[in-house]
């Protein structure tokens, strides 16, 4: 069964204290792995897509990396405005029944950055 597990569930950092969020996945052939940011009471905001092991994407203080079993979202020198829930999702390759662009989401990591 395709599955996504994110850790930790919650993370508290001091401003400037770098860290990483983990997304472990099992999927029958990975087509893409996606990272989202979600602020309280709002819809998820798309951040990155990663397609193959070894790929990296960067945006401001965020860098996403991908291996064959997991992805990391590295946050360098975070600021309070980086506080949010970060969601990871995977899409399996076409070929299985019912696979028509569906994403499988993890439960998310809630990040709090204190000034």
């Amino acid at each position: 069964e395709d599955q996504v597990t994110q850790s930790p569930e919650a993370l508290r950092l001091q401003e400037g204290e770098s860290s990483s969020l983990n997304c472990s996945y099992t999927v029958s052939g990975l087509r893409g792995l996606f990272w989202y940011r979600q602020d309280p009471g709002k819809g998820p905001e798309f951040l990155f897509t990663l397609y193959s092991a070894g790929e990296e994407k960067e945006k401001e203080r965020l860098k996403a990396t991908l291996t064959k079993k997991e992805s990391f979202l590295h946050i360098t020198a975070p600021k309070p405005e980086d506080s949010a829930t970060y969601l990871c999702a995977v899409q399996a390759r076409l070929g299985g029944s019912g696979n028509t662009g569906k994403l499988i989401f993890g439960q998310g990591t809630t990040l709090q950055v204190k000034p």
Binding site: R31, F34, T49, G101, K102
Partner: protein, 114 residues
């Protein structure tokens, strides 16, 4: 920029009422999705559509139906609202048809059924 809009940010309905949630996207995307999000349960897919007049059941379709008469619009219908349908409802769209890819979400509708 991709824009997905939802008809209401907050909605309060009574048990047994018929509820319509509307979603519109302005980027000519082929796929559209309806999710609900609850604390501790994460995002759960209700229905999706990869073409006009096409629909597919997601993981939790019971108690819901959908309509897609135009490419840009995807409606979620609660035929007879119940208190266990109190939730945050999120609409999303993605551009790549059966290939899928990243999804872009609307702001969400917080539905309370009393």
């Amino acid at each position: 920029d991709v824009k997905v809009t939802q008809s209401s940010r907050y909605l309060v309905k009574r048990t047994g009422e018929k509820v319509f949630l509307e979603c519109v996207q302005d980027m000519d995307h082929e796929n559209m999705f309806w999710y609900r999000q609850d604390p501790g349960l994460g995002l759960r897919l209700i229905y999706f559509s990869y073409d006009v007049k096409m629909k597919e059941k997601g993981d939790i379709p019971e108690g819901y139906s959908v309509s897609r008469e135009k490419k840009e619009r995807f409606s979620l219908i609660l035929e007879s609202a119940s208190t266990n349908q109190t939730s945050m409802y999120l609409c999303a769209s993605s551009p790549h048809g059966l290939v899928g890819g990243e999804q872009y979400f609307g702001p969400g509708t917080r539905l309370t059924v009393t």
